[in-house]
């Protein structure tokens, strides 16, 4: 059976597409799937850095499209996680180096080799985005609880629907304490505007910065809330759609409250 192609997109930059692509790829591979993660951000590649595979790049996606190498030559295998492959972007070309039909051709090849192909879409709605969604079966829209990110995600969702793709939503970088104080949009607010199915909520996690800087997969880090959330999203994405979505709670304040209650009694 052919594998599926999932595009991770957001419209706005810096909301966590690349980190989520890398982590979801790793999580799916750990669940026993054969996974290819494709960096679509030609000219501004950084998925390879996040995955810690930068020093092993020989060929890239433009080389594949131009026929300068085979897919197997360009796909870099992750040595820490079995069945996880990266197809890096070219740093010297620009987004016009490939066309949507090239991507359809490439993903049809990848479908035969991999159970899941994740496309890490660049920010914006220009050529890179068009290339990415041309070949996708499914889409994950990443949005942070900010008005600007919601606005861009809304636009992206409209464009995805225009391509007959029904997207799913990840709300990233939730700070429960701020949501509780009313300083941040809650995920309910985001879902109310975007009106698409939620596939996961990811809490703000400082470990993500460490992980991306060192190139170690987030989900291999123990006790990372974001990593755990991403593992659950990977399960929902592949075969367990009914896994309940956990609402990140302000656990600290919960204990504080409990503590204050006890202290009052004393």
């Amino acid at each position: 059976m052919d594998g599926k192609v999932v595009v991770v997109t957001s419209g706005k930059g810096g909301v966590g597409k690349t980190t989520i692509s890398a982590s979801l790829g790793a999580a799916l591979a750990l669940q026993g799937k054969r996974v290819a993660v494709v960096d679509m951000d030609i000219g501004l590649r950084n998925l390879d850095v996040v995955m810690g595979l930068e020093n092993r790049i020989v060929f890239n996606i433009v080389d594949i499209i131009k026929g300068r190498c085979k897919i197997k030559q360009a796909a870099i295998r992750d040595r820490r996680i079995d069945n996880l492959y990266l197809i890096p972007a070219s740093q010297s070309d620009d987004k016009n180096a490939i066309k949507p039909e090239n991507m359809v051709w490439l993903t049809n090849r990848l479908r035969k080799e991999f159970d899941v192909t994740l496309l890490d879409c660049p920010a914006g709605i220009e050529q890179g985005f068009k290339n990415s969604i041309a070949a996708a079966d499914e889409a994950i829209v990443v949005c942070t609880p900010e008005v600007s990110a919601v606005r861009d995600a809304d636009r992206i969702i409209g464009l995805l629907y225009a391509q007959s793709i029904t997207p799913k939503l990840i709300v990233n970088r939730i700070v429960p304490e701020m949501v509780k104080n009313g300083d941040m949009l809650s995920h309910e607010d985001v879902v109310e505007v975007l009106a698409i199915d939620l596939i996961g909520l990811i809490e703000m996690d400082d470990r993500v910065v460490v992980s991306t800087n060192t190139g170690t997969p987030l989900i291999l880090q123990e006790e990372s809330k974001a990593g755990m959330a991403l593992q659950r999203i990977a399960l929902r994405l592949d075969g367990h759609p009914d896994l309940p979505i956990e609402n990140p709670m302000d656990k600290k304040s919960f204990w504080k409250k409990l503590g204050s209650r006890f202290s009052r009694k004393n």
């Binding site: 606005r151 809304d154 409209g158 629907y161």
Partner: protein
């Protein structure tokens, strides 16, 4: 009307009578002379005919005398039958009443140019309607709708809505949840709406050269209309 330019005598058949219009400004003798010519031509048709003499004036006394004299003359000369003056036309319709149309049959007379759409209008999408626009759904921030007439949103309005484009200032914008980023009615623009957190339907209209937003339930502008009318 200047009667001096009119021919002194005109005759036409009205129903079962002969309508004789005479110019009352001329002397009676001249009118008698003028009457001879057409009545001689009528010959026996004039005998026993009903005659209505119209002087075109409301001046009662002089009129009646003129009509009587001319009537007697005609009776004597041409053996006409009954001579009378014109009866004033009946006013069956009261001019002061507002014209009321029966909307029960409106479908036969009016075709609707409105655009009715269902669904969510997302950021970056732009919907234009020639006349009225009705959206069964929400208008997200960043989305834009433009209509020649009214805009009615049965949902949450958060984007930009322009009604009555280009110059219809009677248009309204109504939404169940009214939180627009900007609205326009005709040439008027209103932006940065004060945070109207009222969870009630509201509408915007132009009043005294400014856009006013009011509670739709309380300030329904159409409630005062005496009779349903086409918008």
């Amino acid at each position: 009307m200047n009667h001096n330019d009119d021919p002194p005598v005109k005759i036409k058949g009205v129903g079962d009578s002969l309508w004789v219009a005479v110019n009352p400004n001329l002397p009676v003798e001249q009118l008698k002379k003028e009457l001879i010519k057409p009545f001689e031509r009528l010959k026996h048709l004039a005998i026993n005919a009903r005659i209505i003499i119209d002087t075109g004036k409301d001046d009662q006394e002089n009129n009646d005398r003129l009509i009587e004299e001319l009537g007697n003359y005609l009776k004597a000369e041409f053996q006409v039958g009954h001579v009378s003056k014109p009866t004033p036309p009946k006013r069956s319709v009261n001019k002061n009443r507002i014209r009321q149309q029966d909307m029960g049959n409106a479908w036969h007379h009016y075709r609707n140019d409105g655009l009715l759409i269902a669904g969510r209008v997302r950021s970056g999408q732009k919907i234009q309607a020639k006349k009225h626009l009705i959206i069964l759904g929400d208008l997200n921030p960043g989305a834009e709708v433009i209509a020649g007439g009214d805009i009615i949103i049965l949902g949450c309005l958060q984007g930009k809505a322009s009604a009555g484009q280009p110059d219809n200032e009677n248009a309204i914008i109504m939404a169940l949840e009214f939180k627009p980023t900007q609205i326009q009615i005709g040439g008027f623009v209103a932006a940065g709406m004060a945070d109207s957190s009222a969870d009630r339907p509201e509408f915007a209209s132009v009043e005294e050269n400014a856009i006013i937003v009011d509670d739709y339930i309380k300030g329904n502008p159409f409630r005062r209309l005496a009779w349903p009318e086409v918008r």
